[in-house]
């Protein structure tokens, strides 16, 4: 269970060992410099201790050569930290396209999870070994944060937008899940467990969820009962409102200019605050659903729209290089930004 170093959390994901490696490198350099400076200071303090109250040593002006050396060497070492850390961060925050999605809703002070098959759970998250899992997360109230130390991942769960992170567990076990962003009275009680199972056990566990609908199916029913179909078409083919088929991950042209990518946060915003971004060619006629639908129902509606197909030109055919100009390689982080920036203007 434990690694050979005490007080290192269990290592159970594909990135956890890589984060540890960088951590050990940083620790090694830190210990080296702390001992070097501590040792030199101690040596000087003893060697050059005051031997007579009257001694006045000769002044030494300084040395440009030395200043250069001890500016450049730390800079080079710091850059090695920077490059290593940034490369790994990129991996941590770029979910693979084939990841299995699990929806996460945080609220004071519990975690609600819903699997793509419809299986729901609270404060426990069952996941299989060896499959890539992407958490799509939002909050009903304040900012929370999903922190799984064994996977070395952590991302804030922010109300009003979707954030995401991904992992691939490497071995079965039961691992801590913490809320890492202070969220009020019972913050330290807002935790749970991630239970990693062998894939076949996971599939059996999932099938035990008979009776519950998948988020997409539930979303389809909501789509009908909320009257969305009257404008967007009963199958999302469009009408007075824009078509939803093939919308997900496509580039949408707005009346205010500039295309935006139709990611989860865009879909969510278009439901709760439809005036914020009007699709070019359509009028601002949609009513807001703020307060009408819960975060979980929003998740279901978004899942339904996603089930209507995503843009064929969507990014991330495996191996494609991340590229700023072509959609977002930084889904969790980059996605919500335009939505956020536009919101105050809409008020």
């Amino acid at each position: 269970m434990q690694t050979w170093v005490p007080f290192i959390p269990e290592s159970a994901s594909t990135v956890s060992g890589r984060v540890d490696a960088l951590y050990f490198y940083l620790s090694g350099v830190t210990v080296f410099f702390a001992l070097l400076i501590g040792g030199v200071v101690t040596f000087f303090v003893i060697r050059y201790r005051r031997r007579s109250p009257y001694e006045v040593p000769r002044p030494i002006a300084g040395s440009h050569a030395l200043e250069t050396v001890w500016s450049v060497i730390p800079f080079v070492i710091a850059m090695s930290f920077f490059v290593w850390g940034a490369r790994l961060y990129f991996i941590q925050y770029r979910p693979p396209q084939d990841a299995q999605e699990i929806y996460v809703v945080g609220k004071q002070w519990m975690w609600k999870f819903q699997h793509s098959t419809g299986q729901r759970e609270i404060n426990e998250l069952h996941v299989p070994v060896g499959r890539k899992i992407k958490l799509i997360m939002t909050s009903e109230d304040v900012i929370h944060d999903v922190f799984i130390p064994a996977f070395r991942i952590k991302t804030d769960v922010v109300p009003g937008r979707y954030s995401s992170q991904w992992f691939e567990a490497t071995r079965p076990g039961r691992f801590h899940l913490f809320c890492a962003e202070y969220c009020g009275m019972n913050h330290s009680g807002m935790g749970g467990w991630v239970i990693v199972m062998e894939p076949k056990d996971y599939d059996i566990w999932l099938s035990g969820a008979s009776g519950s609908q998948s988020p997409a199916t539930a979303g389809q029913q909501l789509f009908q009962t909320l009257g969305c179909a009257s404008c967007h078409g009963s199958n999302g083919e469009g009408g007075r409102g824009p078509a939803l088929q093939g919308l997900f991950n496509s580039q949408v042209q707005l009346t205010s200019g500039g295309p935006v990518r139709a990611d989860e946060s865009y879909l969510r915003e278009s439901i709760v605050n439809p005036q914020a971004k009007i699709v070019a060619g359509y009028g601002p006629i949609m009513p807001t659903f703020q307060g009408v639908v819960t975060e979980e129902q929003l998740v279901q509606l978004v899942a339904f729209v996603k089930s209507l197909g995503s843009n064929a030109a969507a990014p991330g055919s495996p191996g494609s290089a991340p590229n700023a100009s072509q959609s977002s390689p930084a889904p969790a982080a980059a996605g919500p930004k335009p939505a956020a920036a536009a919101t105050p203007k809409a008020k």
Binding site: F7, I8, P9, V19, L22, Y23, T30, V41, F44, V45, Y48, R50, P53, V56, P57, R58, P59, I60, G62, S63, L66, E67, W70, S71, F75, A78, F81, F82, G85, A86, L88, Y89, Q92, I143, D145, F147, P149, A150, R152, I153, K154, T155, D156, V158, P159, G160, F178, A180, Y182, G184, M185, H187, S188, G189, A333, A334, A340, T343, P344, K347
Partner: protein, 545 residues
């Protein structure tokens, strides 16, 4: 060497020039105002320290058994607010800075003595309002006030606390303004920029941050109050706001605020290292300009608090790079201080022990900052006890060590009395040991996965927390000792000569305690900073006659 080479100093000094409460409350003397600040910040340090002890007692056991969660959340919030806004930010600039900036440059006072007094009253008003909020029911948002928790969900005294902090910010701005104008316009003849002690350079850099940064946190608090009171949607997404915007605004001030806390301490340490090894500071101009570099770069790194807060990955990379860049000037300082010791004449007086302690603790604090600047590692460490340990190494290991060192160093000048050297050394050792025992285990607990601001925690973290609480008890004792003997020495300490350490600085060339106008006549500076004269001469240069 106590034979009479020095003419006997005037019996009149700034402490006994006038008597009575009114002479203190209406004083315009920067030295008296420094003492007013000294009393107030020490009081609020005590309040914050009691909260710290309460935190450590609660965390002795994994269960939340000493306080309820609601109480515990208020305790750590109020610890942070008291320590940061009412101790760490004013501690060195408003006490040692206030006392010494005019003395070190050969001026009679700060440029705006009335504004200086006003700044103390503003500080006190802010502090009283905040203390009222704490007594009335307290606040539980964390000192960071993250929205929408603070704007919508918390039922505690957010507005009153925010108002106190808002008001006290103006005292910071006025102090900064006073320092900048004073350093520019009131230097004595011959006191050129590159003859200034490095204490002055670092206070100049600090003053720049105070003036440029503090208004931003003031605006942020006002916006928060608008949202909380008038439900104007700025930050809360339910009202159409953006919660991450708050974090950008908050850290735009609060990261540079770290440098408001640590730069003055670096200035103190430059004085201690040079003067107690009787050596000029190695690479004077590099140390001076590194303070300015820190002040400038410090404004460009706020985003490293948002690496896991849904900030874009590319923004994260830029902020990571800049955060590494700001570490370099700090490293330069540490190397220069170390080189200053080379071939010096190093004494082991109490202030020097704090100065050396600073180098060690600040090195650890700075290096662990690099862990948090490294994006991938920060993802794991963010919001854990590693962060808590890191910033305590900077703020306690850095600021507090510098503050205590400086207080001992200038105590003969401030009070006219010597502190007891043996007790001083003993307390410095206790503080150093207690501090490390408190916070080293927290680095380990952080990587092990213990989140911060947790009232209860899983049992595997207990060993580390017990160590930390044990250390905090030692640290608490180490803090009490100096408070006791410094107060004792004001009455019973040995009388201090004008220049007990035999140093060349201007503040030592006048009597202890100084005259109200600091110098009998305006000094003319003909020497470089840290130009050490033979010890016999320092006896006679005590008074510029």
């Amino acid at each position: 060497m106590e034979e009479f080479k020095v003419p006997p100093p005037s019996r009149i000094n700034y402490l006994n020039a006038e008597y009575g409460l009114k002479s203190w409350l209406l004083t315009r003397d920067h030295k008296r105002i420094a003492l007013l600040y000294l009393g107030s910040v020490t009081f609020f340090f005590g309040v914050g320290g009691i909260y710290a002890l309460m935190i450590r007692l609660e965390l002795l056991t994994p269960q939340g058994d000493l306080f309820t969660s609601a109480t515990y959340n208020k305790v750590f919030t109020q610890h942070g607010i008291m320590m940061i806004f009412f101790f760490l930010i004013p501690a060195i600039p408003a006490t040692l800075g206030n006392f010494l900036v005019p003395m070190m440059i050969g001026a009679k006072d700060l440029a705006f003595p009335r504004i200086n007094l006003l700044s103390w009253y503003i500080y006190l008003l802010g502090a009283i309002i905040t203390v009222y909020a704490l007594l009335a029911g307290g606040v539980d948002t964390g000192w960071t006030f993250y929205v929408p928790y603070s704007s919508t969900f918390s039922n505690t005294y957010v507005i009153a606390t925010g108002l106190g902090i808002f008001i006290s910010g103006f005292s910071s701005i006025l102090t900064g303004l006073n320092f900048i104008v004073t350093i520019h316009t009131m230097r004595a003849p011959g006191m050129t920029w590159f003859r200034l002690p490095l204490f002055i350079w670092s206070h100049y850099a600090t003053a720049l941050i105070m003036i440029l940064g503090t208004p931003v946190v003031a605006i942020t608090i006002v916006l928060l109050a608008f949202e909380r009171l008038a439900r104007v949607g700025i930050f809360d997404p339910a009202l159409g706001g953006d919660p991450v915007l708050f974090q950008h605004l908050f850290w735009f001030y609060s990261h540079p605020a770290v440098y408001i806390m640590v730069l003055p301490s670096m200035g103190v340490v430059s004085e201690l290292i040079a003067n107690f090894s009787r050596k000029n500071v190695f690479g004077y101009s590099f140390v001076a300009f590194s303070s300015l570099a820190i002040a400038v770069f410090g404004f460009l790194v706020w985003g490293h608090h948002l690496f896991v807060a849904t900030q874009s990955v590319y923004a994260g990379m830029i902020f990571s790079f800049l955060s590494f860049a700001v570490a370099i000037p700090s490293a330069i300082k540490v190397f220069n201080w170390t080189a200053t010791l080379y071939k010096g004449s190093i004494s082991y007086d109490t202030p020097m022990l704090y100065g050396l302690g600073f180098i060690g603790l600040f090195t650890v604090g700075g290096m662990t900052g690099l862990f948090l600047a490294s994006l991938a590692v920060d993802v794991h460490l963010s919001d854990t006890y590693f962060v808590v340990a890191h910033f305590h190494y900077i703020m306690v290991g850095g600021t507090l060590m510098g503050y205590l060192g400086g207080l001992h160093y200038w105590w003969p000048k401030i009070s006219g009395r010597m502190y007891p050297e043996g007790w001083g050394r003993f307390a410095a050792l206790v503080v150093f040991v207690g501090f490390n025992l408190t916070f080293l285990p927290q680095f380990v607990a952080g990587y092990y996965g213990m989140p911060r601001r947790y009232h209860a925690y899983p049992p595997e973290f207990q060993v580390l927390n017990v160590l930390s609480t044990a250390g905090a008890s030692i640290l608490g004792v180490g803090m009490l000792i100096p408070i006791i003997y410094l107060i004792w020495s004001m009455r019973y300490g040995e009388r201090a000569p004008a220049n007990p350490w035999h140093l060349p600085g201007l503040e030592w060339r006048t009597q202890s305690p100084p005259l109200t106008e600091n110098f009998p006549e305006t000094p003319v500076v003909t020497w470089e900073a840290y130009q050490f004269a033979p010890v016999e001469e320092t006896e006679t240069m005590g008074l510029l006659r």
